[in-house]
Symmetry: C2
Subunit: 394 residues, 2 copies
């Protein structure tokens, strides 16, 4: 086991009707003027937004709301929100939504605390982030794990670049998690969420580190749980038990726990970010579209790791390690397909089949013009990325 | 899955030589005058105490030390430490040791923050605890999980009563966990630690709540890991990998994670506390001495839960559920025995065989004179407790 640090200070308040505690929690963490960030109309239509605003006001808090966050959260919107939050003199940012809304709220909280710095400087790593202001979350979509994670992603649409920022300043103060708030999600979003949750663990699980027993057990147990409950949830998003397990797994899968003591890979995330930035497909869909190609290209680096994955997650065993590894990959891809998630470019909406030049351009983008490799299980340079995109291009 | 809250704010710094970060971490959490609590001579002899004190001073911190914490930490010692810490004007308490030292440090931190209240009032629940001062931990013994848990235990030797206090004010700010610091533990203490770690999960695992999939997976994975690594650690406490897994499991087993979404039982802990308070045997030994009797008495309440335990933790399956459940209990007891831990009163040193009056007195003590039941899997009243002690009395 390698050395590690783990810091998950976010207070989790999980269960039915927990959103009724929001005002109390905002006050506990020092908020007085609350800037509420949310996405589309569903939060308004369901009456959740109104309930939240009333609850905050009942606790004597000042409230300003800002709707309109889009999937793959955008820098220009976040900049606009920062401006409004500062004008409102906000001292607390509340996200009501999923990963995109939470990531936008994180951006707003950094903007409030650093009013003289353009937030993109933090994401482009030109200025280090040294302080922030508090964020709380009411989660309405189990997927990104942003409610407890140290990361936030923004897309700069001007230059078609999607960037993640990892820092302990991204940890929310609290996360209210009521599985019933995810009941009305469209099937496609449930599927994207399941893929995203699995991938946060898969991108940690495929590692060269040996003998990391407890971390492996937790990762494998989480994957089995999500696979099992995902089958139920995709058919019936009103199944409280299935939606509960998926929601809790979403947080644990990206708070660090499933990869402690090992290096992280996250190459599929980088491969997917390139698709999302260029073609604006949902994050989960971008991951399922590339994972099979990544695994097929990379498994020979350590076949035994895929054999363990096959045994522990899919119950596949056998003497021929190559065959076992390949079967586990096929089974995972088939599972994504059973959720109606894309498993290659032609299935991935806006992406579609590419010609060779386009694949090379994408590899160039993903490798930052050939200046970086991605992943650690197999560090993939521009050529590797091109080969993986080629495998996914069907 | 039931509703739950989970708050594990403690920053974990895990790995070799991590104690060299202690000064930096104390400063990060606002400490300037550090009251260092430790146990016996081993921390002095190994040079760890001196290294820690030098590291704190190098960071410009004022330091006072207080050694002498005994297993089953005592109220009178804690009161004395509080007095000295207040005289020193301490604003931070650092525990260098295992559960007893950490629990004492927690008591000191509450005492510092509430100088006009006798700390026993918090443990006897006559005065609610409303504030505390920060605690940091350098862990030298994997067992109690107190480095991240919300609980602390004190024994009032005047009235032979051992009481736990559960509150978020008991969460340390940071926990430095270097497995190498546990290399020199005597075999008996390694065994006690393994039992204690397993029991923090077992006391959560045996629950009437159904369908708590992810929590079950984590609990079962943790138990498998501890059982496996315990076999290695008991033979060779210098095995870095085994000691690492056990140390990390010790924290996860008692930070809440392995029981989220279900009610906790903790009857074996209560049964064991009575033994520790009366006969001063080590906490882990008190647990292994009663668990088999508790399980034998209680498994009929929900045989299926023991069948799941048998399958997932021990790989025991079969058509006869009763037989499977009993075999799993026998296997667990045999495992404790393989660690040279007591599995009944006659093996438990000072406890020894009891006559019927003595068993009744113990049941009276454990049930607070018949005023409470313990546990939730099967709520055990004074008569149940007597029956369990009778089963353990061999």
């Amino acid at each position: 086991m390698h050395s590690f640090t783990q810091h998950t200070p976010t207070e989790i308040v999980f269960g039915k009707n927990t959103e009724s505690k929001v005002g109390e929690l905002v006050k506990k963490y020092g908020g007085t003027r609350v800037f509420v960030v949310y996405g589309g109309g569903s939060v308004e239509r369901s009456g959740l937004l109104e309930r939240v605003v009333q609850n905050l006001k009942k606790e004597g808090l000042q409230v300003e709301t800002k709707g309109g966050v889009k999937p793959n959260p955008r820098l220009d919107f976040a900049r606009e929100a920062v401006k409004e939050a500062i004008e409102f003199n906000a001292d607390f940012t509340l996200a009501v939504g999923g990963g995109s809304v939470i990531d936008t709220a994180k951006a707003v909280s950094h903007g409030i605390a650093n009013p003289n710095i353009d937030i993109w400087e933090f994401w482009s790593k030109t200025t280090p982030l040294t302080k922030t202001s508090p964020v709380g979350v009411i989660l309405t979509l189990a997927a990104a794990g942003s409610e407890t994670s140290d990361s936030a992603v923004l897309t700069n649409t001007e230059i078609q670049i999607k960037r993640g920022l990892g820092t302990d300043f991204n940890r929310p103060e609290f996360a209210i998690m009521n599985p019933e708030l995810t009941y009305t999600l469209p099937k496609y979003q449930v599927g994207c969420g399941i893929v995203d949750i699995m991938m946060h663990t898969l991108d940690r699980y495929f590692t060269l580190t040996e003998g990391n027993l407890l971390t492996d057990e937790i990762a494998e147990g989480l994957l089995r749980t999500v696979i099992k409950c995902g089958k139920t949830a995709i058919k019936d998003s009103h199944d409280y038990d299935a939606m509960s397990e998926i929601m809790w797994a979403g947080s644990l899968s990206h708070n660090g726990l499933t990869g402690l003591g090992a290096e992280k890979d996250f190459a599929p995330h980088q491969l997917g970010h390139e698709l999302s930035a260029k073609f604006d497909i949902a994050h989960g869909a971008s991951l399922s579209a590339v994972w099979g190609a990544w695994a097929t290209y990379c498994y020979p680096v350590k076949v035994k790791r895929f054999v363990q994955f096959a045994d522990k997650v899919w119950g596949i065993t056998g003497d021929d390690e190559e065959a076992v590894a390949k079967e586990a990959i096929a089974k995972t891809v088939a599972y994504f397909k059973s959720l109606d998630m894309p498993t290659c470019f032609s299935e991935a909406g806006e992406v579609g089949l590419k010609n060779d030049d386009e694949l090379k351009q994408m590899a160039d983008g993903c490798s930052y013009g050939g200046t970086r490799s991605i992943g650690s299980f197999k560090p993939c340079d521009k050529e590797d990325i091109y080969q993986i995109y080629k495998l996914a291009n069907k």
